[in-house]
Protein backbone atom coordinates (compact mmCIF):
# COMPACT_ATOMS: atom_id res chain seq x y z
CA UNK A 1 0.00 0.00 0.00
CA UNK A 2 2.82 2.34 0.85
CA UNK A 3 4.34 1.97 -2.58
CA UNK A 4 0.99 2.51 -4.28
CA UNK A 5 0.71 6.00 -2.75
CA UNK A 6 4.22 6.82 -3.93
CA UNK A 7 3.01 6.58 -7.55
CA UNK A 8 1.01 9.78 -6.95
CA UNK A 9 4.23 11.75 -7.36
CA UNK A 10 5.19 10.02 -10.60
CA UNK A 11 3.61 12.67 -12.88
CA UNK A 12 5.50 15.43 -11.11
CA UNK A 13 8.79 13.55 -11.35
CA UNK A 14 8.25 13.34 -15.11
CA UNK A 15 7.31 17.02 -15.22
CA UNK A 16 10.47 17.97 -13.32
CA UNK A 17 12.61 15.91 -15.67
CA UNK A 18 11.07 17.83 -18.56
CA UNK A 19 10.75 21.39 -17.26
CA UNK A 20 13.49 21.60 -14.61
CA UNK A 21 16.24 19.17 -15.55
CA UNK A 22 16.02 19.24 -19.37
CA UNK A 23 16.25 23.08 -19.61
CA UNK A 24 19.35 23.08 -17.43
CA UNK A 25 20.93 20.40 -19.60
CA UNK A 26 20.09 22.55 -22.63
CA UNK A 27 21.78 25.58 -21.02
CA UNK A 28 24.90 23.48 -20.51
CA UNK A 29 24.68 22.19 -24.10
CA UNK A 30 24.33 25.68 -25.62
CA UNK A 31 27.09 27.01 -23.36
CA UNK A 32 29.58 24.67 -25.02
CA UNK A 33 28.41 25.17 -28.60
CA UNK A 34 28.20 28.04 -31.08
CA UNK A 35 25.82 28.86 -33.94
CA UNK A 36 28.54 28.10 -36.51
CA UNK A 37 29.32 24.77 -34.90
CA UNK A 38 25.67 23.68 -34.76
CA UNK A 39 25.15 24.64 -38.40
CA UNK A 40 27.76 22.05 -39.33
CA UNK A 41 26.00 19.31 -37.36
CA UNK A 42 26.65 15.98 -39.07
CA UNK A 43 29.38 17.39 -41.28
CA UNK A 44 32.14 17.65 -38.70
CA UNK A 45 32.86 15.19 -35.88
CA UNK A 46 30.66 15.68 -32.80
CA UNK A 47 33.69 16.37 -30.62
CA UNK A 48 34.51 19.45 -32.71
CA UNK A 49 31.05 20.93 -32.26
CA UNK A 50 31.70 21.38 -28.57
CA UNK A 51 34.00 24.32 -27.89
CA UNK A 52 35.07 26.59 -25.08
CA UNK A 53 34.74 29.66 -27.36
CA UNK A 54 31.90 31.16 -25.33
CA UNK A 55 33.93 31.02 -22.16
CA UNK A 56 36.93 32.51 -23.91
CA UNK A 57 34.75 35.39 -25.14
CA UNK A 58 33.75 36.18 -21.58
CA UNK A 59 37.20 37.67 -21.09
CA UNK A 60 35.93 40.76 -22.94
CA UNK A 61 33.39 41.29 -20.20
CA UNK A 62 35.72 41.17 -17.20
CA UNK A 63 34.66 44.71 -16.24
CA UNK A 64 31.01 43.66 -16.04
CA UNK A 65 31.85 40.54 -14.02
CA UNK A 66 33.94 42.58 -11.60
CA UNK A 67 31.26 45.29 -11.29
CA UNK A 68 28.50 42.74 -10.64
CA UNK A 69 30.45 41.06 -7.87
CA UNK A 70 31.57 44.32 -6.36
CA UNK A 71 28.10 45.90 -6.26
CA UNK A 72 26.40 42.70 -5.05
CA UNK A 73 29.02 42.34 -2.33
CA UNK A 74 28.63 45.94 -1.17
CA UNK A 75 24.83 45.58 -1.17
CA UNK A 76 25.09 42.37 0.86
CA UNK A 77 27.38 43.97 3.42
CA UNK A 78 25.15 47.04 3.76
CA UNK A 79 22.10 44.77 4.16
CA UNK A 80 23.91 42.83 6.87
CA UNK A 81 25.00 45.99 8.71
CA UNK A 82 21.46 47.42 8.56
CA UNK A 83 19.55 44.17 8.89
CA UNK A 84 21.32 42.42 11.74
CA UNK A 85 20.73 45.19 14.31
CA UNK A 86 17.13 45.48 13.13
CA UNK A 87 16.50 41.74 13.55
CA UNK A 88 18.22 41.88 16.93
CA UNK A 89 16.24 44.78 18.40
CA UNK A 90 13.02 43.40 16.91
CA UNK A 91 13.53 40.08 18.66
CA UNK A 92 13.79 41.88 21.99
CA UNK A 93 10.36 43.53 21.72
CA UNK A 94 7.05 42.13 23.01
CA UNK A 95 5.14 39.56 20.92
CA UNK A 96 2.46 41.99 19.68
CA UNK A 97 5.06 44.54 18.59
CA UNK A 98 7.10 41.80 16.91
CA UNK A 99 4.15 40.62 14.87
CA UNK A 100 3.38 44.12 13.69
CA UNK A 101 7.02 44.76 12.83
CA UNK A 102 7.10 41.53 10.81
CA UNK A 103 4.03 42.58 8.84
CA UNK A 104 5.59 45.99 8.24
CA UNK A 105 8.77 44.40 6.90
CA UNK A 106 6.94 41.99 4.62
CA UNK A 107 4.37 44.48 3.32
CA UNK A 108 6.62 46.32 0.84
CA UNK A 109 7.54 42.97 -0.71
CA UNK A 110 3.93 42.71 -1.84
CA UNK A 111 4.24 45.83 -3.94
CA UNK A 112 5.70 44.93 -7.30
CA UNK A 113 9.47 45.43 -7.04
CA UNK A 114 9.63 47.25 -10.37
CA UNK A 115 7.16 49.82 -9.06
CA UNK A 116 9.18 50.34 -5.90
CA UNK A 117 12.35 50.76 -7.91
CA UNK A 118 10.50 53.15 -10.20
CA UNK A 119 9.66 55.28 -7.14
CA UNK A 120 13.37 55.60 -6.41
CA UNK A 121 13.91 56.94 -9.92
CA UNK A 122 11.70 59.92 -9.09
CA UNK A 123 13.54 60.46 -5.81
CA UNK A 124 17.07 60.29 -7.20
CA UNK A 125 16.53 62.12 -10.51
CA UNK A 126 18.71 65.19 -11.17
CA UNK A 127 15.62 67.36 -10.77
CA UNK A 128 13.97 64.80 -8.50
CA UNK A 129 12.55 64.93 -5.01
CA UNK A 130 15.83 64.77 -3.08
CA UNK A 131 17.60 67.39 -5.16
CA UNK A 132 14.56 69.67 -4.94
CA UNK A 133 14.61 69.22 -1.20
CA UNK A 134 18.30 70.12 -0.98
CA UNK A 135 17.60 73.16 -3.14
CA UNK A 136 14.72 74.22 -0.89
CA UNK A 137 16.78 74.07 2.29
CA UNK A 138 19.53 76.04 0.57
CA UNK A 139 22.14 73.30 0.67
CA UNK A 140 23.47 74.05 -2.81
CA UNK A 141 23.72 77.79 -2.06
CA UNK A 142 25.70 76.99 1.06
CA UNK A 143 28.07 74.62 -0.72
CA UNK A 144 28.51 77.00 -3.66
CA UNK A 145 29.31 79.87 -1.33
CA UNK A 146 31.87 77.88 0.64
CA UNK A 147 33.60 76.09 -2.22
CA UNK A 148 32.95 78.60 -4.98
CA UNK A 149 31.30 75.95 -7.19
CA UNK A 150 28.09 76.31 -9.19
CA UNK A 151 26.33 73.15 -8.08
CA UNK A 152 22.62 72.89 -8.93
CA UNK A 153 22.10 69.18 -8.24
CA UNK A 154 23.84 66.06 -6.91
CA UNK A 155 24.26 63.36 -9.52
CA UNK A 156 22.61 60.37 -7.85
CA UNK A 157 20.76 58.40 -10.49
CA UNK A 158 22.81 56.42 -13.03
CA UNK A 159 25.59 55.88 -10.50
CA UNK A 160 26.82 52.71 -8.83
CA UNK A 161 25.56 54.07 -5.53
CA UNK A 162 22.02 54.21 -6.90
CA UNK A 163 22.23 50.58 -8.04
CA UNK A 164 23.47 49.48 -4.61
CA UNK A 165 20.68 51.50 -2.98
CA UNK A 166 18.12 49.74 -5.18
CA UNK A 167 19.51 46.33 -4.22
CA UNK A 168 19.56 47.17 -0.50
CA UNK A 169 16.04 48.57 -0.66
CA UNK A 170 14.62 45.55 -2.47
CA UNK A 171 16.46 42.77 -0.66
CA UNK A 172 16.82 44.06 2.92
CA UNK A 173 13.82 41.98 4.13
CA UNK A 174 15.56 38.85 2.84
CA UNK A 175 18.39 39.60 5.26
CA UNK A 176 16.24 40.56 8.25
CA UNK A 177 13.81 37.62 8.20
CA UNK A 178 16.20 34.63 8.47
CA UNK A 179 18.37 36.37 11.10
CA UNK A 180 15.30 37.32 13.11
CA UNK A 181 13.84 33.81 13.02
CA UNK A 182 17.13 32.35 14.28
CA UNK A 183 17.50 34.93 17.08
CA UNK A 184 13.99 34.47 18.50
CA UNK A 185 14.61 30.73 18.73
CA UNK A 186 17.80 31.16 20.77
CA UNK A 187 17.78 29.27 24.05
CA UNK A 188 17.59 31.91 26.77
CA UNK A 189 19.21 29.68 29.37
CA UNK A 190 22.41 29.85 27.30
CA UNK A 191 22.46 33.63 27.63
CA UNK A 192 21.77 33.43 31.34
CA UNK A 193 24.51 30.82 31.77
CA UNK A 194 26.98 33.09 29.97
CA UNK A 195 26.03 35.99 32.24
CA UNK A 196 26.23 33.84 35.35
CA UNK A 197 29.71 32.85 34.31
CA UNK A 198 30.70 36.51 34.29
CA UNK A 199 30.34 37.63 30.66
CA UNK A 200 29.26 41.24 30.11
CA UNK A 201 26.65 41.98 27.45
CA UNK A 202 29.24 42.65 24.73
CA UNK A 203 30.86 39.30 25.47
CA UNK A 204 27.50 37.51 25.54
CA UNK A 205 26.79 38.93 22.10
CA UNK A 206 30.20 38.16 20.66
CA UNK A 207 30.64 34.68 22.10
CA UNK A 208 27.08 33.34 22.31
CA UNK A 209 24.46 35.22 20.33
CA UNK A 210 26.41 35.99 17.19
CA UNK A 211 27.92 32.51 16.66
CA UNK A 212 24.51 30.93 17.25
CA UNK A 213 22.82 33.28 14.77
CA UNK A 214 25.39 32.49 12.07
CA UNK A 215 23.10 30.08 10.14
CA UNK A 216 20.57 32.91 9.81
CA UNK A 217 23.27 35.34 8.71
CA UNK A 218 24.55 32.94 6.05
CA UNK A 219 21.07 32.28 4.78
CA UNK A 220 20.43 36.03 4.63
CA UNK A 221 23.73 36.69 2.86
CA UNK A 222 22.87 34.10 0.20
CA UNK A 223 19.38 35.42 -0.25
CA UNK A 224 20.64 38.95 -0.80
CA UNK A 225 23.75 38.12 -2.80
CA UNK A 226 22.17 35.78 -5.35
CA UNK A 227 19.39 38.13 -6.56
CA UNK A 228 21.77 41.13 -6.38
CA UNK A 229 24.44 39.54 -8.55
CA UNK A 230 21.86 38.39 -11.09
CA UNK A 231 19.58 41.44 -11.26
CA UNK A 232 19.07 43.29 -14.50
CA UNK A 233 16.00 45.44 -13.82
CA UNK A 234 17.49 47.40 -10.91
CA UNK A 235 20.71 48.18 -12.75
CA UNK A 236 18.74 49.11 -15.84
CA UNK A 237 16.39 51.47 -14.00
CA UNK A 238 18.76 53.08 -11.51
CA UNK A 239 22.09 52.56 -13.27
CA UNK A 240 21.16 53.55 -16.80
CA UNK A 241 23.25 52.26 -19.68
CA UNK A 242 26.66 52.73 -18.13
CA UNK A 243 26.21 50.44 -15.12
CA UNK A 244 25.61 47.16 -16.94
CA UNK A 245 25.66 44.04 -14.77
CA UNK A 246 25.83 40.32 -15.57
CA UNK A 247 22.04 40.14 -15.68
CA UNK A 248 21.90 42.85 -18.34
CA UNK A 249 24.55 41.02 -20.31
CA UNK A 250 22.50 37.81 -20.27
CA UNK A 251 19.31 39.69 -21.13
CA UNK A 252 20.97 41.28 -24.15
CA UNK A 253 22.08 37.89 -25.47
CA UNK A 254 18.51 36.61 -25.44
CA UNK A 255 16.06 39.46 -25.94
CA UNK A 256 18.29 42.41 -26.70
CA UNK A 257 20.32 43.63 -29.63
CA UNK A 258 23.45 41.54 -28.99
CA UNK A 259 21.54 38.35 -29.78
CA UNK A 260 23.75 35.35 -28.95
CA UNK A 261 22.00 32.69 -26.80
CA UNK A 262 25.12 30.53 -26.85
CA UNK A 263 27.19 33.15 -25.05
CA UNK A 264 24.15 33.96 -22.87
CA UNK A 265 23.93 30.31 -21.83
CA UNK A 266 27.61 30.26 -20.92
CA UNK A 267 27.16 33.30 -18.67
CA UNK A 268 24.02 31.75 -17.16
CA UNK A 269 26.02 28.60 -16.49
CA UNK A 270 28.65 30.63 -14.65
CA UNK A 271 25.88 32.22 -12.61
CA UNK A 272 24.43 28.81 -11.80
CA UNK A 273 27.85 27.75 -10.48
CA UNK A 274 27.94 30.87 -8.28
CA UNK A 275 24.53 29.90 -6.85
CA UNK A 276 25.68 26.31 -6.24
CA UNK A 277 28.79 27.54 -4.42
CA UNK A 278 26.60 29.77 -2.21
CA UNK A 279 24.28 26.84 -1.47
CA UNK A 280 27.13 24.49 -0.60
CA UNK A 281 28.60 27.06 1.81
CA UNK A 282 25.17 27.61 3.37
CA UNK A 283 24.31 23.91 3.71
CA UNK A 284 27.69 23.33 5.26
CA UNK A 285 26.54 25.43 8.20
CA UNK A 286 23.13 23.77 8.15
CA UNK A 287 19.81 24.92 9.53
CA UNK A 288 19.17 28.38 8.01
CA UNK A 289 18.09 26.53 4.86
CA UNK A 290 14.51 25.98 6.00
CA UNK A 291 13.71 29.68 6.24
CA UNK A 292 15.40 30.37 2.95
CA UNK A 293 13.10 27.86 1.33
CA UNK A 294 10.01 29.33 2.93
CA UNK A 295 10.53 32.75 1.41
Amino acid sequence: MKNKIAWLSAPYVLWMALVVVAPIIMVVFYAFTTAEGLAQWGEIPITEIFTLDNFARMGTYTVIFARSFQLALVATIVCLLLGYPLAYVMAKEGPGFQRMAMVLIMLPMWVNFLLRTYAWMAILENNGILNNFFEAIGLFDLINRIFGTDLTYFRMIRTQGAVVLGMVYNYLPFMVLPIYSVIIKLDHSLLEAARDLGANSAQVFRKVIFPLSLPGVLSGVTMVFVPSVSTFAISRMLGGNNQMLLGNLIEQQFLGGAYNPYLGSAIALVMMIIVIVCMVVMNHFGEGEEQAVML
Binding site: K4, L82, A122, F254
Partner: protein, 294 residues
Protein backbone atom coordinates in the same frame (compact mmCIF):
# COMPACT_ATOMS: atom_id res chain seq x y z
CA UNK B 1 17.51 50.09 29.65
CA UNK B 2 14.98 52.78 28.87
CA UNK B 3 17.54 54.64 26.82
CA UNK B 4 18.31 51.50 24.88
CA UNK B 5 14.63 51.12 24.13
CA UNK B 6 14.31 54.64 22.72
CA UNK B 7 17.45 54.11 20.64
CA UNK B 8 16.25 50.82 19.21
CA UNK B 9 12.77 52.16 18.43
CA UNK B 10 14.32 55.16 16.71
CA UNK B 11 16.47 52.83 14.62
CA UNK B 12 13.43 50.77 13.62
CA UNK B 13 11.53 53.92 12.73
CA UNK B 14 14.37 55.02 10.45
CA UNK B 15 14.44 51.68 8.62
CA UNK B 16 10.68 51.71 8.19
CA UNK B 17 10.87 55.24 6.85
CA UNK B 18 13.42 53.99 4.32
CA UNK B 19 11.14 51.09 3.36
CA UNK B 20 7.94 53.10 3.10
CA UNK B 21 8.95 56.53 1.81
CA UNK B 22 9.05 55.44 -1.86
CA UNK B 23 5.70 53.66 -1.59
CA UNK B 24 4.16 56.68 0.09
CA UNK B 25 5.52 58.82 -2.72
CA UNK B 26 3.85 56.61 -5.33
CA UNK B 27 0.54 56.82 -3.49
CA UNK B 28 0.64 60.60 -3.03
CA UNK B 29 1.62 61.35 -6.61
CA UNK B 30 -1.03 59.03 -8.00
CA UNK B 31 -3.45 61.82 -7.04
CA UNK B 32 -1.34 64.50 -8.66
CA UNK B 33 -2.88 66.58 -11.43
CA UNK B 34 0.41 67.06 -13.25
CA UNK B 35 2.30 64.57 -15.40
CA UNK B 36 5.14 64.46 -12.89
CA UNK B 37 6.38 62.54 -9.90
CA UNK B 38 8.21 65.54 -8.52
CA UNK B 39 6.03 68.65 -8.82
CA UNK B 40 2.68 68.68 -7.04
CA UNK B 41 -0.09 70.51 -8.90
CA UNK B 42 -3.18 69.69 -6.93
CA UNK B 43 -5.48 66.76 -6.32
CA UNK B 44 -7.12 64.85 -9.15
CA UNK B 45 -8.22 61.34 -10.07
CA UNK B 46 -7.08 61.86 -13.63
CA UNK B 47 -4.50 59.04 -13.65
CA UNK B 48 -7.00 56.53 -12.35
CA UNK B 49 -9.37 57.42 -15.19
CA UNK B 50 -6.59 57.08 -17.75
CA UNK B 51 -5.50 53.81 -16.19
CA UNK B 52 -8.92 52.25 -16.57
CA UNK B 53 -9.10 53.49 -20.15
CA UNK B 54 -5.63 52.13 -20.97
CA UNK B 55 -6.36 48.85 -22.77
CA UNK B 56 -2.73 47.77 -22.76
CA UNK B 57 -2.23 48.05 -19.01
CA UNK B 58 -5.64 46.64 -18.14
CA UNK B 59 -4.98 43.73 -20.49
CA UNK B 60 -1.66 43.12 -18.77
CA UNK B 61 -3.35 43.22 -15.35
CA UNK B 62 -5.94 40.73 -16.60
CA UNK B 63 -3.18 38.46 -17.95
CA UNK B 64 -1.28 38.64 -14.66
CA UNK B 65 -4.33 37.69 -12.63
CA UNK B 66 -5.40 34.96 -15.05
CA UNK B 67 -1.98 33.31 -15.21
CA UNK B 68 -1.57 33.59 -11.42
CA UNK B 69 -4.98 32.09 -10.64
CA UNK B 70 -4.59 29.26 -13.15
CA UNK B 71 -1.01 28.49 -12.12
CA UNK B 72 -1.97 28.56 -8.43
CA UNK B 73 -4.96 26.28 -8.92
CA UNK B 74 -3.03 23.73 -10.99
CA UNK B 75 0.04 23.87 -8.74
CA UNK B 76 -2.00 23.44 -5.58
CA UNK B 77 -3.71 20.30 -6.85
CA UNK B 78 -0.60 18.75 -8.41
CA UNK B 79 1.63 19.81 -5.52
CA UNK B 80 -0.69 18.35 -2.89
CA UNK B 81 -0.96 14.97 -4.62
CA UNK B 82 2.77 14.92 -5.21
CA UNK B 83 3.44 15.68 -1.56
CA UNK B 84 1.19 12.80 -0.51
CA UNK B 85 3.08 10.55 -2.90
CA UNK B 86 6.45 11.73 -1.60
CA UNK B 87 5.21 11.14 1.94
CA UNK B 88 4.58 7.47 1.13
CA UNK B 89 7.93 7.11 -0.58
CA UNK B 90 11.16 5.69 0.73
CA UNK B 91 13.78 8.19 1.82
CA UNK B 92 16.22 6.84 -0.70
CA UNK B 93 13.93 8.02 -3.50
CA UNK B 94 12.39 11.00 -1.80
CA UNK B 95 15.54 12.92 -0.95
CA UNK B 96 16.91 13.24 -4.48
CA UNK B 97 13.46 14.25 -5.75
CA UNK B 98 13.23 16.96 -3.08
CA UNK B 99 16.69 18.20 -4.07
CA UNK B 100 15.57 18.66 -7.68
CA UNK B 101 12.35 20.22 -6.37
CA UNK B 102 14.46 22.88 -4.63
CA UNK B 103 16.30 23.91 -7.80
CA UNK B 104 13.74 26.46 -9.07
CA UNK B 105 13.48 28.00 -5.59
CA UNK B 106 17.21 28.31 -4.97
CA UNK B 107 18.38 29.18 -8.47
CA UNK B 108 18.75 32.79 -9.59
CA UNK B 109 15.54 33.81 -11.38
CA UNK B 110 17.36 34.85 -14.49
CA UNK B 111 18.94 31.41 -14.87
CA UNK B 112 15.56 29.70 -14.49
CA UNK B 113 14.07 32.17 -16.96
CA UNK B 114 16.82 31.71 -19.53
CA UNK B 115 16.75 27.92 -19.17
CA UNK B 116 12.99 27.82 -19.72
CA UNK B 117 13.33 30.25 -22.64
CA UNK B 118 15.88 27.99 -24.32
CA UNK B 119 13.77 24.94 -23.60
CA UNK B 120 10.60 26.44 -25.08
CA UNK B 121 12.38 27.88 -28.09
CA UNK B 122 14.05 24.54 -28.82
CA UNK B 123 10.84 22.57 -28.44
CA UNK B 124 8.91 25.09 -30.55
CA UNK B 125 11.63 25.16 -33.17
CA UNK B 126 11.47 21.39 -33.29
CA UNK B 127 7.69 21.44 -33.60
CA UNK B 128 7.53 24.19 -36.21
CA UNK B 129 10.49 22.79 -38.08
CA UNK B 130 9.09 19.29 -38.28
CA UNK B 131 5.43 20.17 -38.75
CA UNK B 132 5.72 23.20 -41.00
CA UNK B 133 9.02 23.00 -42.81
CA UNK B 134 10.46 19.56 -42.28
CA UNK B 135 13.55 18.66 -40.32
CA UNK B 136 15.79 21.34 -41.82
CA UNK B 137 13.44 23.98 -40.44
CA UNK B 138 14.62 23.10 -36.94
CA UNK B 139 18.08 24.59 -37.36
CA UNK B 140 16.78 27.67 -39.18
CA UNK B 141 14.27 28.33 -36.45
CA UNK B 142 16.91 28.03 -33.78
CA UNK B 143 19.02 30.60 -35.52
CA UNK B 144 16.21 33.07 -35.91
CA UNK B 145 15.18 35.41 -33.18
CA UNK B 146 14.01 33.87 -29.93
CA UNK B 147 11.05 36.19 -29.82
CA UNK B 148 8.95 35.65 -32.91
CA UNK B 149 5.89 37.72 -32.35
CA UNK B 150 4.05 37.09 -35.60
CA UNK B 151 3.60 33.36 -36.18
CA UNK B 152 3.13 32.11 -39.69
CA UNK B 153 0.34 29.69 -40.55
CA UNK B 154 0.51 26.53 -38.49
CA UNK B 155 3.29 27.80 -36.27
CA UNK B 156 3.17 27.69 -32.53
CA UNK B 157 4.92 30.36 -30.53
CA UNK B 158 5.86 31.51 -27.06
CA UNK B 159 2.88 33.18 -25.46
CA UNK B 160 0.33 32.65 -22.74
CA UNK B 161 0.77 28.85 -22.70
CA UNK B 162 4.53 28.96 -22.17
CA UNK B 163 4.02 31.70 -19.57
CA UNK B 164 1.54 29.49 -17.71
CA UNK B 165 3.82 26.44 -17.90
CA UNK B 166 6.72 28.50 -16.53
CA UNK B 167 4.59 29.78 -13.65
CA UNK B 168 3.39 26.28 -12.79
CA UNK B 169 6.97 25.04 -12.78
CA UNK B 170 8.10 27.56 -10.16
CA UNK B 171 4.85 27.41 -8.11
CA UNK B 172 4.63 23.66 -7.50
CA UNK B 173 7.85 23.45 -5.39
CA UNK B 174 6.42 25.98 -2.90
CA UNK B 175 3.18 23.99 -2.54
CA UNK B 176 5.09 20.76 -1.93
CA UNK B 177 7.35 22.39 0.66
CA UNK B 178 4.30 23.69 2.52
CA UNK B 179 2.23 20.50 2.42
CA UNK B 180 4.96 17.96 3.22
CA UNK B 181 5.68 19.14 6.81
CA UNK B 182 1.95 19.01 7.60
CA UNK B 183 1.82 15.41 6.41
CA UNK B 184 4.79 14.59 8.62
CA UNK B 185 3.06 16.16 11.63
CA UNK B 186 -0.12 14.15 11.01
CA UNK B 187 -0.88 11.22 13.27
CA UNK B 188 -0.68 8.18 11.01
CA UNK B 189 -2.96 6.12 13.21
CA UNK B 190 -5.81 8.44 12.16
CA UNK B 191 -5.74 6.94 8.65
CA UNK B 192 -5.63 3.42 10.07
CA UNK B 193 -8.52 4.23 12.40
CA UNK B 194 -10.61 5.59 9.52
CA UNK B 195 -9.93 2.49 7.44
CA UNK B 196 -10.67 0.18 10.39
CA UNK B 197 -14.00 1.94 10.69
CA UNK B 198 -14.79 1.00 7.12
CA UNK B 199 -13.54 3.91 5.02
CA UNK B 200 -12.06 3.12 1.63
CA UNK B 201 -8.63 4.60 1.02
CA UNK B 202 -10.16 7.41 -1.04
CA UNK B 203 -12.66 8.24 1.74
CA UNK B 204 -9.91 8.23 4.34
CA UNK B 205 -7.91 10.58 2.14
CA UNK B 206 -10.81 12.97 1.64
CA UNK B 207 -12.19 12.96 5.16
CA UNK B 208 -9.05 12.57 7.28
CA UNK B 209 -5.89 13.50 5.40
CA UNK B 210 -7.15 16.58 3.54
CA UNK B 211 -8.58 18.34 6.64
CA UNK B 212 -5.35 17.59 8.53
CA UNK B 213 -3.08 19.13 5.91
CA UNK B 214 -5.42 21.94 4.89
CA UNK B 215 -3.38 24.74 6.55
CA UNK B 216 -0.35 23.61 4.54
CA UNK B 217 -2.34 23.58 1.32
CA UNK B 218 -3.72 27.07 1.99
CA UNK B 219 -0.35 28.61 2.83
CA UNK B 220 1.23 26.83 -0.16
CA UNK B 221 -1.44 28.23 -2.48
CA UNK B 222 -1.00 31.73 -1.01
CA UNK B 223 2.77 31.69 -1.49
CA UNK B 224 2.38 30.30 -5.01
CA UNK B 225 -0.08 33.08 -5.88
CA UNK B 226 2.21 35.76 -4.45
CA UNK B 227 5.17 34.39 -6.39
CA UNK B 228 3.16 34.40 -9.60
CA UNK B 229 1.76 37.90 -9.22
CA UNK B 230 5.13 39.33 -8.26
CA UNK B 231 7.25 37.51 -10.81
CA UNK B 232 8.98 39.56 -13.45
CA UNK B 233 12.20 37.89 -14.52
CA UNK B 234 10.93 34.41 -15.42
CA UNK B 235 7.82 35.85 -17.11
CA UNK B 236 9.97 38.26 -19.08
CA UNK B 237 11.90 35.40 -20.68
CA UNK B 238 8.96 33.08 -21.31
CA UNK B 239 5.98 35.33 -22.13
CA UNK B 240 6.78 35.74 -25.83
CA UNK B 241 3.91 37.75 -27.33
CA UNK B 242 1.89 37.74 -24.08
CA UNK B 243 2.37 40.46 -21.49
CA UNK B 244 2.04 40.77 -17.74
CA UNK B 245 1.87 43.86 -15.57
CA UNK B 246 5.57 43.54 -14.61
CA UNK B 247 6.63 43.26 -18.24
CA UNK B 248 4.47 46.25 -19.12
CA UNK B 249 6.01 48.33 -16.33
CA UNK B 250 9.53 47.41 -17.41
CA UNK B 251 8.72 48.40 -20.98
CA UNK B 252 7.22 51.71 -19.86
CA UNK B 253 10.17 52.66 -17.70
CA UNK B 254 12.44 52.23 -20.69
CA UNK B 255 10.34 54.41 -23.00
CA UNK B 256 7.82 56.78 -21.45
CA UNK B 257 6.96 56.94 -17.78
CA UNK B 258 3.32 57.58 -17.04
CA UNK B 259 1.82 58.40 -13.63
CA UNK B 260 -0.69 55.66 -14.45
CA UNK B 261 1.95 53.43 -12.86
CA UNK B 262 1.41 55.30 -9.58
CA UNK B 263 -2.29 54.61 -9.81
CA UNK B 264 -1.68 50.90 -10.44
CA UNK B 265 0.70 50.62 -7.51
CA UNK B 266 -1.68 52.49 -5.20
CA UNK B 267 -4.55 50.17 -6.10
CA UNK B 268 -2.40 47.05 -5.64
CA UNK B 269 -1.00 48.29 -2.35
CA UNK B 270 -4.52 49.14 -1.15
CA UNK B 271 -5.80 45.64 -1.95
CA UNK B 272 -2.88 43.98 -0.15
CA UNK B 273 -3.29 46.28 2.84
CA UNK B 274 -7.02 45.57 3.17
CA UNK B 275 -6.41 41.82 2.84
CA UNK B 276 -3.70 41.90 5.50
CA UNK B 277 -5.89 43.88 7.89
CA UNK B 278 -8.79 41.45 7.41
CA UNK B 279 -6.53 38.43 8.01
CA UNK B 280 -4.94 39.97 11.09
CA UNK B 281 -8.22 41.11 12.63
CA UNK B 282 -9.65 37.64 12.09
CA UNK B 283 -6.64 36.00 13.71
CA UNK B 284 -6.77 38.43 16.59
CA UNK B 285 -10.48 37.74 17.15
CA UNK B 286 -9.89 34.01 16.99
CA UNK B 287 -7.14 34.25 19.58
CA UNK B 288 -9.30 36.39 21.80
CA UNK B 289 -12.17 33.92 21.56
CA UNK B 290 -9.83 31.05 22.37
CA UNK B 291 -8.40 32.77 25.43
CA UNK B 292 -11.90 33.72 26.52
CA UNK B 293 -13.03 30.10 26.11
CA UNK B 294 -10.36 28.61 28.34
Amino acid sequence: MRRYRIGSRFYMALIFLFLYAPILLLVVFSFNDANSNVVWQGFSLRWYEELFRDRQIMGAVYNTLLVSVLATAISTVVGTFTAVGLFGMRRRWRDPILTVNNIPIMNADIVTGVALCIFFVTVIAGWNGVVVEGWNGFVTYLEENFRRTLPRMGEVNMGFTTLLLAHISFDIPYVILNVLPKLRQMDRSLIDAAQDLGCTWMQAFRKVVIPEIKPGIVSGALIAFTMSVDDFVISYFTAGSASTLSIEIYGMVRKRVSPELNAVSTLLFGVVLVLLIIINVREWRLEKRQTAGT
